[in-house]
Symmetry: C2
Subunit: 768 residues, 2 copies
């Protein structure tokens, strides 16, 4: 970081400080960056502590090493593929900006590409760290489980916390340093727009990381189960199954690396989006409104470090209670910090900070409600999971029907919560800034929703620590033939890990839906800025209606409606591709395992070892191949819609808000011709309705999958005949169906939604 600051002094874009310097307020940037740096140090220390603890028996290490090698091989091949794609896109991005007609865009082109590459690299780094630490923490957790549950829990959570801290800190530092290097302290209103590339780079890597990892993890899991549990009749994690190491590798590359990149992208995109909206309120808050999101994440880091530090348990307690205590402490600290930041940064004459704090509190409550609703739909003690378990008694068909019905029910409550949160935080935003007459209610309200999003994200690092919380320890214990009581301890951790994973998925989709509005609005602001620049560049030929803004995405116009249809369709087709990819890859696992059993009968007899590496390598190759097509679809469709509709005839009236009034020109014109907003509007329709459809589908798949999983677990506790009953067999079918839903398609949809937002932000100039 120090290096970067020195480099920045020579940085090509570093303007000389102008009179408009806001040096006093720049202190907030340094505070945020300082906390980010400290968090990295804390993560390093935590990693040291975890890594210095006992690494288990030689048998355990053999297994752990096999997992490590498999995961590292996958990640290195995956990152090479992603890097190739990213470089192609960077060139395309540069050319695209360059071909845009006015010099302003050209100056921005290089900055955008640099931000894009920095974002991509940071995202890759975040994912890699997550995987690196998680694998090493796994074996230490397994080892610690041989002595006490508390030690195991702490090793597991601290391993997860390294990821959480690194992810949030890298996002904070990346955005902050780029902001400084691009001259944000002197041109605070312009630089946020130049950071959109950072979000896009993060999204792109996240998309492929989550897709590739998600396909890998579930193909290995489903394949191993199909051929192991179902065909050969050997238990889960049995060392005779050649796919078992691939399955364990999958947990690391899918859940840890994938989720790390996912949350990195969320914080990056939401930081940049909120800074753009802050720029729109520059007259009110100055640079502090722009730096506010960074400070929120600094608070997030501090609160999460404390939260992680206080988690301890004993051998009898449910580990979930200990984790929840940490969550409450983190939330409490985050709330205090949030209030401090609001009163010190978003304050001033005419501002009512209490209302703005209300926005933040709304966001935090939304987070709690989402976690609670997810719990209701995925935990054994409530009706939905029990209804699936009961339906299993009449066979797999009724299990599936009832699981899908539960999944389809799940969006109802979250949608109502999100609707209420949007309405409230918008209203609070308007009230908080009511005395400023020069700013539209719309800008005030939208900033309110942005504050709510910040509130929701203010515990993100802790949530991520809980999520990347290890669940491999059990597998290592099982495979290395440890005593039964050790397995009992890791089972407890396993079960807590399943719960936290479901909850954080609920949290992630909740923040995605709330942030969606923030990101739309950033896109609309960006379009307005570009149009304004172009009209001004046209000199006297350009005409800008007074007070014009691009805030009208009219669904009654055909291009917007068609964009909306295509956006919704994209989420279905993308999910279909992801699910089919899992199916195809799983078939390759099945085939390889069958081949191995046939080629080497000693495997099933337990006399010779299966070739784990062969299976790992097959899944790696297949998963990487399969991630390309859905990834390209996600990137290509919005671009195609924007570029196509940009060239459409003006008869469609898209974007010409001037329809309403027969008199004066109401839209910006250049040389008397209205600026064609058709492409930008169609893309906005795609973005918004694609987000709505994606959020709902993701909830269906995440919660449906989670409910199926726990219905099986509930039956295994002895309900409806218990393990190996007919009901249990039916429930296993549901669990298998739910796997690609909840671990591949669902999480990939989260990332898709964010990618749509960042790609439209970055490519906005091409749609005009």
């Amino acid at each position: 970081m120090h290096l970067c600051r020195i480099a920045a002094m020579f940085f090509v874009f570093q303007d000389a400080p102008a009179g408009a310097s806001t040096s006093n307020d720049a202190i907030w940037l340094w505070i945020a960056l300082g906390v980010g740096a400290l968090a990295l140090v804390a993560a390093f220390v935590l990693a040291k502590i975890v890594l210095s603890s006992d690494a288990g028996t030689p048998e355990m290490q053999v297994i752990s090493n096999a997992i490590r090698e498999g995961a590292e091989a996958f990640l290195s091949r995956q990152y090479r593929s992603i890097a190739a794609l990213a470089i192609v896109l960077a060139v395309a991005l540069y050319l695209g900006y360059h071909l845009s007609s006015i010099p302003h865009d050209r100056a921005v082109a290089l900055k955008t590409v640099i931000a894009f590459l920095v974002g991509a690299v940071c995202s890759g780094l975040a994912g890699f760290t997550g995987m690196y630490v998680s694998i090493r923490a796994n074996i230490r957790t397994a080892s610690a489980a041989r002595t006490s549950l508390n030690k195991a829990l702490q090793a597991a959570l601290r391993g997860g916390a390294v990821t959480g801290l690194v992810v949030v800190a890298l996002s904070l530092i990346g955005v902050g340093v780029l902001f400084f290097c691009f001259g944000g302290l002197t041109h605070p209103q312009e630089v946020p727009y130049e950071l959109v590339g950072f979000g896009f780079g993060a999204s792109l890597v996240a998309l492929f990381a989550q897709l590739g990892g998600g396909i890998y993890t579930k193909a290995a899991d489903v394949g191993a189960d199909l051929v192991g549990k179902v065909e050969a009749g050997i238990p889960e994690d049995d060392p005779r199954n050649p796919a078992v190491i691939a399955d364990l590798v999958g947990d690391n590359v899918g859940d840890c690396a994938g989720r790390g990149a996912d949350i990195f992208e969320s914080t990056a995109a939401e930081n940049v989006g909120a800074m753009i909206l802050g720029a729109a309120l520059y007259p009110v808050f100055g640079i502090k409104g722009i730096l506010f999101p960074l400070i929120v994440h600094a608070i997030n880091l501090i609160a999460s470090i404390v939260g992680v530090a206080i988690v301890k348990t004993n051998d009898t307690e449910d580990p979930m209670s200990a984790l929840n205590r940490g969550y409450y402490v983190t939330s409490f600290l985050a709330l205090g910090g949030f209030a401090f930041a609001i009163y010190h940064m978003l304050n001033g004459p005419g501002v009512h900070p209490a209302w703005l704090l209300g926005c933040g509190v709304t966001g935090m409550i939304t987070a709690f409600l989402f976690v609670w609703i997810t719990e209701y739909y995925t935990e054994c003690k409530f009706r939905p999971v029990q209804s699936i378990a009961e339906a299993s008694t009449t066979g797999p068909a009724t299990n599936i029907i009832s699981g899908i019905a539960v999944g389809m029910e799940t969006p109802a409550m979250p949608v109502i919560v999100i609707s209420a949160a949007l309405l409230l935080s918008y209203y609070f935003g308007v009230r908080g800034l009511a005395e400023f007459t020069g700013i539209s209610d719309y800008a005030k309200g939208i900033y309110g929703t942005a504050i709510a999003t910040m509130g929701m994200l203010s515990c993100a690092a802790y949530i991520l620590a809980m999520d990347t919380f290890t669940d491999n320890a059990g597998g290592i214990i099982e495979m290395s033939n440890q005593p039964h009581e050790v397995r009992e301890k890791t089972d407890k951790l396993d079960s807590a890990g399943n719960t936290t994973k479901a909850l954080t998925k609920g949290y992630a989709i909740g923040s995605a839906s709330l942030a969606a509005f923030l990101l739309f609005s950033a896109y609309l602001e960006e379009i307005k800025t570009i149009v304004t620049a172009r009209v001004h560049a046209a000199g006297p030929l350009g005409y800008m209606p007074p007070g014009w803004s691009f805030t009208n995405i009219n669904l009654a116009e055909i291009p917007v409606f068609v964009g909306a249809l295509l956006g919704a369709m994209l989420t279905y087709l993308f999910s279909s591709m992801a699910i089919k990819a899992v199916g195809r890859t799983a078939q390759m696992v099945v085939k390889d395992v069958r081949d191995q059993f046939r080629e080497n009968p000693g495997i099933m007899a337990g006399t010779s070892k299966p070739d784990y590496a062969r299976c790992v390598s097959i899944v790696t190759g297949a998963a990487l191949k399969e991630m390309v097509l859905p990834g390209l679809l996600a990137v290509g469709l919005p671009v195609a819609v924007g570029v196509l509709f940009r060239n459409f005839s003006s008869v469609y009236g898209a974007g010409s808000s001037g329809l309403n009034n027969a008199g004066l020109a109401m839209v910006p014109t250049i040389n008397g011709v209205p600026v064609n907003l058709g492409g930008a509007s169609a893309v906005a329709g795609l973005l918004m309705v694609g987000t709505i459809s994606g959020v709902l589908l993701a909830m269906l798949m995440n919660n449906g999958g989670g409910a199926w999983d726990n219905a099986k677990k509930w039956i295994e506790t002895g309900k409806f005949g218990g393990k190996n009953s007919e009901a249990h067999k039916a429930a296993v079918v549901g669990d298998t169906v739910g796997d690609p839903f909840k671990d591949t398609a669902g999480p990939s949809l989260h990332v898709l939604i964010k990618l749509l937002a960042t790609i439209t932000l970055v490519l906005a100039p091409l749609f005009l």
Copy 2:
């Protein structure tokens, strides 16, 4: 009908003919009504022919009578429930209109309620006719199958044609007569708005008919299969199964009565919507533009009668080829008639009818493409079904995963087709009317999409005849122990019936998506008309900006976005409720059959008869109870959103398109206060995005379900081990899962989409 015309002379709303009489053009109304009446006569003659043919052996009649009694008992109980709900709603509607503040609305209140009740009664009549004839045609078809396939096919198709003709003719006559009675010939621009109640009445009955019937048919089917095929190991349609009659009853009340009400609603809603858009183009076409939809349906009736008449086959041909020949003839005639109508009705100085014909052709091609795409996804000879069959070899879980993946892929092509159809027909509409400068491009383009919808619907009666094409004959043959070769003939009909049912579902959802835009636009026109009336009623206090129209549904406004979220959520929750209702009702069937087997061991031994009626009565009661909650949700949510947001603070800026321009008031004001369009806008968001989400979900469920069904059938032809292999068992699971998808939730979603459109049209005054 004659009676009605006499009654109309004394009708309270019949105004004295004014100077604006367009008596010459009124001839088109009489032509349409005349053709409608002739079609009813033709349907009567067809019914006579079918009913006069041989009614089979006494054994067959016993079974047929049991089915008839069950179906009639269900329908009579169902209609009584629906009637009670309809009367409550009629009163609420009247009060709602009455409480609206201006006298104009009050005058309309009674007309709307009358139209509502007429629509509901006609819809019920159409559904009842469908069921009445279909049951009687079934036994005749079964009987005819004992002599020749041609006779059986003709009996089956003619039975279906009675439904098709009655449905379309009743819709045509209902709308036409109300138009006349409400004084449409003297006030053609106002009366179409007064007909919206007709569409709502039809939708409401259709919703409950489809929901109740859909729950009934699949609960009986799934229940009978679960306990018969799976538990007791007896074949489908085995007379020892106490649920078998309920299953056969279900085919009639779900597919025939439900689908009849569904298509009745579609034609009714689209007729009324297109007439409203025609009213907006009154300056161009006069009353002919308003009567055009009625003439299109008259053409539809004539073309379909000819199409049905020419269908014949022989004992070796695939019945599907004969049915397709009829479809081609119908399409060809409809195209000719359409061109005639365009050149005679939508013509005049400055109109380019060739472009308008292009709109119609676009609609017809869209219909063909939808049918083709549906075939691709649901027929055994193509990849999707085969991929599901192949996945079945690794068990039920992979069968389900692959079926859902196929289902999620299905919306892609249809969405592209619909997008292209909307863009093209809009463009053609603008070109066709390019010379009229006083009308906005938007109104021209939207009328183009309306013509395309008319084109798509111009073969509806034939399509419906194919769809209600009997599939019960096989059951009767099976249960009455007829020789094997007879069963082979009815199996051919069965298989053709499965195909036509899948294709018409594709057609129905295609027309729903294309018509969606027509119906949105009618809603926007309606809101504009009401606002204009209220502003004028305020006298000098009211201000109407020149050229104002309500064509701006801004997704970037929070209330619209929240409405959109809720609309999408509604489709998920509604589907979930429908699917769960099937599950619960099926469990009651399972329980009753188990009870009967236990109480009377003679049933399985074949020595005594099961109590079919008890099972029928249980399903009837349960299905009717289950249809209420999802039905009320569908009706209640749009009303709640509209009424709630109407009262929302203006800070949300909803509907105030005036945001853009700081100067002049751009929205209508009364007493200086802008008319609050928040409720109307939020409802529009709900309607549009609810439609998009509903169309996609319905495609997923219809095509996924159809593909599962045929994957099972394909395996039964000997693929992957054939009948009773492990793959077949897995495929049976998929088929069972698909049943409530494709026969309950999917078709009910079609109706839901239309209901959303008609309820918003009818209740528009309450949202302002």
